[in-house]
Amino acid sequence: MIYSFLEHLGNYFIFLRRVFSRPEKWSEFFKKMIDEMYAMGVGSLIIVMIVSTAMGSVITLQTSLQVESSWIPSWTIGFTVRTSVIMELCPTIISLLLVGNLGSRITAEIGSMRVTEQIDALEVMGINPASYLVLPKILASFIVNPALILISIFFALFGGYLTVLATGYISVYDYVDGLTSFFRMYDVWYALTKTVIFGFIITSVAAFYGYKIEGGALELGKANTQGVVVASFFVLILNLLITNIMLN
């Protein structure tokens, strides 16, 4: 098992070496990167908005129900919601959501190109398929993922606002006061740093599993599942490491 893990890891780094090579033509590369940014952003925006709003609502509700003591000021609810949403929930939960949404799309796209010999066609034209297909996705994720997480944070806090408005457990004033209390910009940078690293993991791991497929539709399905599991695992492990490094 350890041998298999190391073999996979070695192949992954060899793959990354091919990915990070100079594009054949910059004009085509930027065109492809813009297309990828559009596909990634538009393809994930609605689900991110829905999940974030629901998540923000539930967190606000749960926190309100927990904090009923008169010794704890009401603004604590807004403060707790903001901190948990910015620092953990949005970057991690939404990234895990993107592993399933974005990652499986990438594995399926590249895997089906492998199965139908489209990657071979690129190779025989003298084009580096790893760089041509994967590098624009990785670089696009560096821009799109942080943007999605910022949108996600906004909608999660907005979801909390709607809950406060609808339930009346605390006043809207106290909620907003809590959101703005003890605000640290570093928390946002921490969230965005995590997001960029998670974006790299999601796109590169998903692409790797699609790229190395040998066989047909059955292997494509297996690769998709493996890609999602491995990317999720690395997102969680890196979450722990980054938190330890950046917040300790």
Binding site: E24, K25, S112, T116, E117, Q118, A121, M125, G126
Partner: protein
């Protein structure tokens, strides 16, 4: 001209090509025939550089492909056009974008020049008014023709076709065969076609190499293929009832 010299290819301990020696001549349609699993596709993949031979050499006009620098290999690849068995057109691109793809990536031509070349190639393969269609909107035969158009877009010196007739009806197969022959003679290319389609064998095979179990079993022309004394070749050629019926007349 392509010269294959003592090529062996192994996967692990299993050798699938045993000491192959063939010359594919310029301006001719050179067929490689054999049963499924005989090693045709492995040989084709070695020829186009998707696999490296375990030993031996492949010379493109006296240049050893597998022992040249990466840059030289890349330059040589620009002289190769490949038609894959499943066409391998890019799903997300229209037919026009597919044919224009190698021009976009490998040349610095203006948009108008590229468009003219694309239209010329599509016209040559008789695919007019398909520019804005996607591969999924085309029939199998049309996809093959679009793949041929893409393969010839950069004016290659060498054309490789892996089972261009597989999955096509006999009439469409004839059209594809005529197209490959016509293009080969028109552009004076070295064309290598992997096939087990007997129509192709007896109509377009200007040179024919028969591979059995990874060994070159027989080499000749379309005029010799039906009257050969080679038992393995005859087993392959006269395997179908229809060819068995014509065998007495051929003799």
């Amino acid at each position: 001209m392509i010269v294959v010299e003592n090529v062996k290819k192994s996967f692990g301990t299993k050798e699938v090509l045993h000491n192959i020696n063939i010359t594919f001549e310029k301006g001719k349609v050179n067929l490689v025939i054999g049963r499924s699993g005989s090693g045709k596709t492995v040989l084709m993949k070695c020829l186009i550089g998707l696999l490296s031979p375990t030993s031996g050499a492949i010379y493109y006009d006296n240049k050893d492909f597998h022992h040249m620098s990466f840059g030289d290999q890349k330059k040589l690849r620009m002289d190769m056009g490949v038609v894959f068995q499943g066409s391998a057109l890019f799903d997300s691109l229209t037919i026009e974008e597919n044919v224009m793809f190698p021009l976009n990536m490998l040349t610095n031509q203006s948009q108008q020049e590229k468009l003219d070349r694309v239209n010329h190639c599509l016209q040559r393969v008789d695919l007019i008014n398909t520019n804005q269609l996607y591969p999924s909107e085309l029939s199998g035969g049309m996809k093959k023709r679009a793949a041929i158009a893409r393969a010839i877009a950069i004016n290659p010196k060498y054309l490789f076709c892996d089972e261009p007739n597989s999955g096509l009806d006999p009439k469409t197969s004839l059209i594809i065969d005529e197209l490959i022959t016509g293009i080969t003679h028109e552009y004076n290319m070295t064309t290598v076609v992997n096939t087990h389609d007997l129509n192709s064998v007896i109509t377009i095979g200007e040179t024919i190499a028969f591979i059995k179990d990874g060994t070159l079993e027989w080499h000749g022309t379309k005029d010799q293929v039906l009257v050969s004394d080679n038992e393995s070749l005859n087993d392959f050629i006269y395997a179908q009832p229809i060819t068995q019926m014509i065998r007495p007349h051929v003799k």
